[in-house]
Amino acid sequence: MAKYRMHLLVCDGTTCHASQSESVKNALQDCLELNNLENEVKVVSTGCFGYCEKGPIVKVLPDNTLYVKVKPGDAEEIVKEHILNGQIVKRLLPTESVAQVYASEGKTPFFDKKQIRIALRNCGFIDPENIEEYIAHDGYQALCKCLTEYTPQQVIDIIKRSGLRGRGGGGFPTGLKWEITAKVKSDQKYVICNADEGDPGAFMDRSIMEGDPHSVIEAMAINGYCTGANKGLVYIRAEYPLAVKRLKVAIDQARAYGLLGKNIFNSGFDFDIELRYGAGAFVCGEETALIHSMEGKRGEPTFKPPFPSEHGYLGKPSNVNNVETYANVPVIINKGADWFASIGTEKSKGSKVFALAGKINNVGLIEVPMGTTLRDVIFKIGGGIKGGKEFKAVQTGGPSGGCLTSHHLDTPIDYDNLIAAGSMMGSGGMIVMDEDDCMVSIAKFYLGFTVDESCGKCSPCRIGNKRLYEILDKITKGEGTMEDLTKLRNLSEVIKDTSLCGLGQTSPNPVLSTLDNFWEEYVEHVVDKKCRAGSCKGLMKYIIDAEACTGCTACARACPVNAISGERKGPHFINQEICIKCGTCMEKCKFNAVLLQ
């Protein structure tokens, strides 16, 4: 078998669809064959380089040269100049600034570093079930440092100075939260890890627990030291069996190594952790509901204040942070508050993990510095929209976030900017929509989720969201009126204004943000009875193109409600009064005569 002296890496045509990398790849292959180089040099397709605007990208190994915006016509030059003559094709190198970055990083094979992995630093690198590998990656050094070198207040000050804010959605300053819990006097306190990741589409907490459970354990112990708690509880959903298993293994190992238990690092500090299982209710991610669930009560929120920091689990002061927040802590201790605070924006420090989903090429987990723009996330890291379609909206913040449009693409992502734009950070779900998505249906979809997940305690959330859903349903069926749109807005605003907990206070966001950003689509549904995305079946009708119809009767025979009539070998006709819009006729027609309008 041939042993190649060179590799040409070309980003995959299926992801970089719009940039024709497939043709580039073929052209390179052809050129190589033309020059009898096919046994010396191999063309390999790769995943996304994360710099799609500059695609297609060709990378030459082993010399690590990177060519951008390569066209099929450039193939010959690359082969002749670079491979045969050993001369770099300068005009295809990245722009000056990018080239500088590239040069400064020297050895690293790829130049674009939009992502920085802090919370995810060990995910996908270490064996999560091997504590020694975690220790080999500087694990438990932060705990050691805290226990042996710092007072609790000093640690709290470090966290405060770092600017870390809660990654579960609220964005409350973490250090301040710790300080409040630390200051409350009590015989017993608790450290609680909120691992009830409820946003559909978000799975960063799961991935951290599966990939780096010790980072959470270490951070919880640090928090226990700061707040004066010797008991940690992880509230984890039972639907995360692997995360549960790995956490259990990690806790056992930490105990075995003396990193949990009595007198940790000879400091006199005792700390241990237990797991509590959630049954998967979305609202149990709300901290008071979470605590009630742990206490064996109905998982529903109670009015704050008192906050859990003062009156938490079993009435004792409890510090509640989520998984991702904790995962940042050991790094902050090890690398310092200033280092962490140097990343991100003025009010949102550090990085944030996002789960990219929807109509985006690179579905997955990413972690970017706060302040990265939506555009960078979606187009540079996410690889752009699937199938080269038009970007329409991105929904951030989980089911109760808002839908942002192309106007927001250059907004730097941080807590405050997202709220100002009518959405929120949430736990970091990011769902991308394209031109095929009907925004009314999207709003209805999210409302369907909150209707299901509302605990039912307060009237606006329990009944209001249901009514919102019903009105949206009516609109998608073509039965909406302009008055309904007024109702939608009033109801949404009242639900936000009057609901008891964060769920109801944010659940109308998808409605309000789509009303704001896609008003004309609502009006089209109501006035023109038209769904531009073609997804609202109630607004579509099937018709038969008389010219294309051959009168084969296949559609008429298949129609479950006998809505189709017509003579054999003559054009057929669909009675719209009877048609239930099931689409069977369209499926059965061999002549593409059935059209959806």
């Binding site: 890496l9 995943g47 992995r117 270490i126 999560p128 042996t148 995360y240």
Partner: protein
């Protein structure tokens, strides 16, 4: 097993860990052995990573290749699961996506044995700390 009590204990574990890799009683020199990490997060497992891992372990042994196959968490490339990272001695690690049994076989035969890159490499596009 050590009962960790000081920073020195941690450092010792860290140093030792880099020097030796032990799998089922055998000592490996990390500089001479092929190291493979399989992304065994829920997304990976759901798309068949466990089967791939078993295949790699069995086949590498059968084909007499000194290799260490370990599990790791989610690498983040959900669109390309299962993902594996292969590090040949003295070379930078390469991540392959959408690895099924067929692909795993190809990776052994062409990349591990011959150093020949194959389709489906996932470029690392992030900095880590």
């Amino acid at each position: 097993m050590v009962h960790v009590k000081t920073i020195e204990d941690l450092k010792k574990i860290k140093e030792e860990f880099g020097k030796r890799i032990q799998v089922s009683g055998k000592n490996f020199d990390p500089e001479k052995v092929v190291q493979i990490k399989v992304g065994l997060g829920t997304s990976g497992i759901a798309s068949g990573a466990k089967e791939v891992m078993n295949f790699l372990r069995d086949e590498l042994e059968k084909r007499n290749i000194e290799a260490l196959v370990t599990q790791t968490g989610d690498m983040g490339y959900s669109y390309a699961e299962p993902t594996i990272e292969v590090k040949l001695p003295g070379q930078p690690a390469v991540v392959f996506g959408k690895v099924n049994i067929k692909k795993a076989d190809e990776i052994i035969e062409r990349y591990i044995k011959n150093g020949e890159l194959i389709d489906g490499i996932l470029p690392t596009n992030y900095m880590t700390i």
